[in-house]
């Protein structure tokens, strides 16, 4: 009897799981304007990830959703296509930061500096801005959109180089000092971009740069949301693969050991500084590449998009998903971006409606959409205290304290004194 019930409940679980995985796509296809359908659609991607089934089937399902359903809906409603592209950009950024913070354990508050560098690198040459310091006899600006692909590669490489130059002196510092120095570095970069409009106008200062040339593919102009969706999708898939392979490699193990105990790692013969530099540089080059894409997608950038807030937002994504976990970074990015762009906005519209109907009287200062810092702050505090291993914790190399905490929540009795103290 119990056996049968168990089997039954398992079947029910499986059916409901599949239902949750597939139904949202259909609903979203039928109701392309509905916000909740969109959120359910994104959630169902994670249901597919978590469901127990053949990996090939899961892969095909996810591919159908991302390559067919989403673009099909996006043709009707470009807003959600834009949101999901934004999610994709942040997924790549979060994975990049995850390599630095999660894999190697280097707290980097200046991640956004590299993102800004990539964005400005493309923007300066893809507007007429570069004409201010490069004579017209050498080249004409803006460069044509075909150059975008080259800039994507060089943006990543040069950001990596910048990361290398910054990392060389500062990576010898201890964890919390490193965090503050990277913060200072990011602020310096932002102030520079804000003020480099004189004596020679490099960045056009606080006014920002626009219009940025859209990319071209063999003469075909890529300026629709759907184009950027596919560019970002491909880049996201690439970053996921790179991060997964790195994590499973010898380098990933070296990072994990540095994160766990730097002195022990050094005495085991791991080139600590070189490995840290590598993590720093790889993270920076991810950010640089995403910066180029961001600039091309927005067609307008200014220094205010690259403040400290942005760095913390990305850190929030990594922490929420789970440090060191690639799938966690994907989930964290999706959750935070949706929270910012959809849920808070919906909520604030709802409150606005209520006060318009005279049910509530809310001063205009109190608009939930303006309080994302509060939301980020709460996420950071609550995750740190209650679930420091994140929502989708990494299975293999979880930092020992997190692991300990996780095990404690399952079975508080078994406490290994040696592990507890480390």
């Amino acid at each position: 009897m119990i056996e049968m019930l168990k089997n039954n409940s398992r079947t029910i679980q499986m059916i409901s799981g599949w239902f949750l995985a597939i139904a949202p796509s259909i609903i979203f296809y039928l109701l392309p304007q509905s916000n909740w359908a969109f959120i359910l659609f994104v959630v169902s991607l994670f249901v597919i990830y978590k469901i127990k089934a053949n990996n090939i089937i899961k892969g095909i399902l996810a591919a159908v959703m991302l390559f067919a359903v989403m673009p099909a809906v996006g043709l009707e409603n470009t807003y959600y296509l834009d949101v999901i592209t934004q999610v994709g950009i942040y997924v790549s950024l979060a994975i990049g930061l995850n390599i630095v913070v999660g894999f190697a354990g280097l707290l980097n508050f200046g991640f956004v500096a590299f993102y800004a560098f990539g964005a400005y690198f493309y923007a300066i040459f893809a507007t007429s801005q570069a004409g201010n310091f490069i004579p017209a006899a050498i080249a004409h600006f803006p460069v044509s959109g075909n150059w975008f692909w080259l800039f994507l590669i060089f943006g990543a490489l040069l950001s990596g180089l910048l990361g290398f130059l910054l990392g060389l002196p500062v990576l010898r510092l201890r964890g919390d000092y490193l965090a503050i120095v990277t913060l200072g570095f990011a602020e310096i970069i932002r102030i520079l971009f804000n003020n480099m409009d004189k004596p020679i106008n490099f960045t056009n200062g606080p006014k920002g740069l626009s219009p940025i040339q859209p990319p071209e593919f063999f003469g075909y102009m890529l300026n629709q949301p759907i184009h950027f969706y596919f560019i970002v999708l491909v880049v996201v898939i690439l970053t996921i693969i790179i991060a997964k392979r790195l994590d499973a490699s010898r380098i990933g193990r070296a990072w994990a050991s540095i994160r766990e105990d730097e002195l022990a790692a050094r005495s085991m013969g791991i080139p600590v500084v070189r490995m840290k530099l590598l993590a720093f540089v790889i993270g920076a080059s991810f950010a640089g590449a995403m910066g180029v894409i961001f600039a091309a997608k927005q067609t307008f950038i200014d220094p205010s998009s690259f403040g400290f807030m942005e760095s913390i937002g990305i850190l929030c994504m990594v922490l929420l998903g789970g440090m060191g976990s690639v799938s966690g970074a994907v989930m964290g990015a999706a959750a935070v971006v949706l929270l910012q762009l959809n849920i808070l906005k919906e909520f604030s519209d709802y409150l606005g409606q209520l006060s318009a109907m005279g049910i509530l009287n809310i001063p205009s200062q109190v608009d939930p959409a303006k309080y994302e810092k509060m939301v980020f702050g709460l996420i950071l505090i609550l995750v740190c205290i209650f679930r420091p291993q994140g929502i989708l914790p990494s299975k293999r190399y979880l930092p020992s304290w997190f692991k300990n905490k996780q095990e404690n929540t399952i079975s508080p009795k078994e406490e290994d004194p040696d592990v507890a103290r480390s």
Binding site: G175, V181, E187, M374, L380
Partner: protein, 319 residues
């Protein structure tokens, strides 16, 4: 060069005033770091809350009509007292809620939760002020209006003199408290070795709470002084100032109380003189907008070249 000498006294004075504020805020960073080895990132928001608490007190007195009747120093002391209590209690609360559960965690975790507290407080103050007054910036009433002429070009406003005097008094009081009193001894003991001092019948949690109260209270008072000096405040005023105060603490040697004072004053003066002379040095090509970079460059250079700071001791990492 002549022009430089002309502006030098004024910028030295500006630097001294700002440096005093940095020094008092830096004390909070350094004290907490001394006991917990934690960069209390939310200390900048404690400063901001103190600025709001003190200014609201003054505004309240003003709206009740008491401000014109009472002597200005009394009003200021009242405002400082309110700021001390509110910021100090907030500091203790913060320690209890966001840091104590994470005391055994790797260093990065409490640092992240400190950032969380900082972000939360910024918007929380904004929300409270928004609900209350439908605006999130405040203008502090002017308490001291007269100025003291020092030379033909240089004038010292009384309000700035008050900032300097109050900051010196607070630092002196803290120094005496930490070096002479029994509680001060307990704080030093906990900073040296938490486990051993708990064996010497020191209530470590109480001492840590007290440290947070004092550090945060001083930060709050510095906030009020800042508001009386610069008049306009908003919930985001603490962030940059906090990083600079932290720079001051690092410059003087983090964990070292006299170091924070020296570092704060030094940083304030360097920054003011640097900002004033950067235009002259580059013939007006670069202007004072690069002022904020000075502090960050100093921070990075100190951490790379001499992480122990000017007065700090070298600490070797142990296995």
């Amino acid at each position: 060069m002549e022009l430089f000498l002309q502006i030098l006294p004024q910028s030295l004075l500006d630097g001294l005033i700002l440096g005093m504020v940095y020094a008092v805020v830096a004390l909070g960073y350094t004290m907490v770091y001394g006991v917990l080895e934690l960069i209390n990132f939310a200390h900048s928001e404690i400063f901001m809350v103190g600025a709001f608490a003190g200014t609201e007190t003054l505004l309240f007195l003003q709206s009740m009509g008491y401000l014109t009747g009472m002597p200005a120093p009394v009003a200021l002391i009242l405002a400082l007292f309110v700021a001390l209590i509110i910021s100090g209690s907030l500091g203790m609360l913060m320690e209890r809620v966001a840091y104590r559960p994470l005391r055994e965690a790797p260093r990065l975790v409490p640092l992240i939760s400190a950032i969380g507290v900082s972000f939360f407080l910024q918007d929380f103050v904004r929300l409270v002020e928004g609900l209350w007054k439908n605006a999130f910036y405040l203008t502090s009433p002017t308490l001291f209006k007269s100025t003291i002429p020092i030379s033909s070009t240089l004038k010292l406003p009384v309000k700035s003199l008050v900032v300097i005097l109050a900051a010196v008094a607070m630092m002196l009081a803290l120094h005496l408290f930490v070096s002479r009193s029994k509680w001060g001894k307990a704080i030093r003991a906990v900073a040296q070795d938490r486990d051993t001092s708990s064996l010497m019948s020191i209530n470590v949690n109480q001492v840590i709470g007290l440290t947070f109260f004092i550090g945060a209270g001083l930060g709050g008072c510095a906030g009020t002084l800042f508001a009386t000096q610069y008049a306009l405040i908003n919930p985001y005023v603490g962030f940059i100032l906090g990083i600079k105060a932290f720079t001051a603490a690092v410059l003087g040697g983090i964990g070292n109380i006299p170091g924070a004072m020296v570092g704060g004053i030094l940083l304030g003066v360097l920054e003011a003189v640097g900002a004033a002379s950067i235009g002259l040095l580059t013939n007006g090509v670069l202007g004072a907008e690069y002022k904020d970079i000075i502090a960050f460059v100093i921070l990075i250079l100190v951490l790379i070249l001499k992480p122990s700071g000017l007065l700090g001791e070298e600490v070797r990492e142990k296995v």
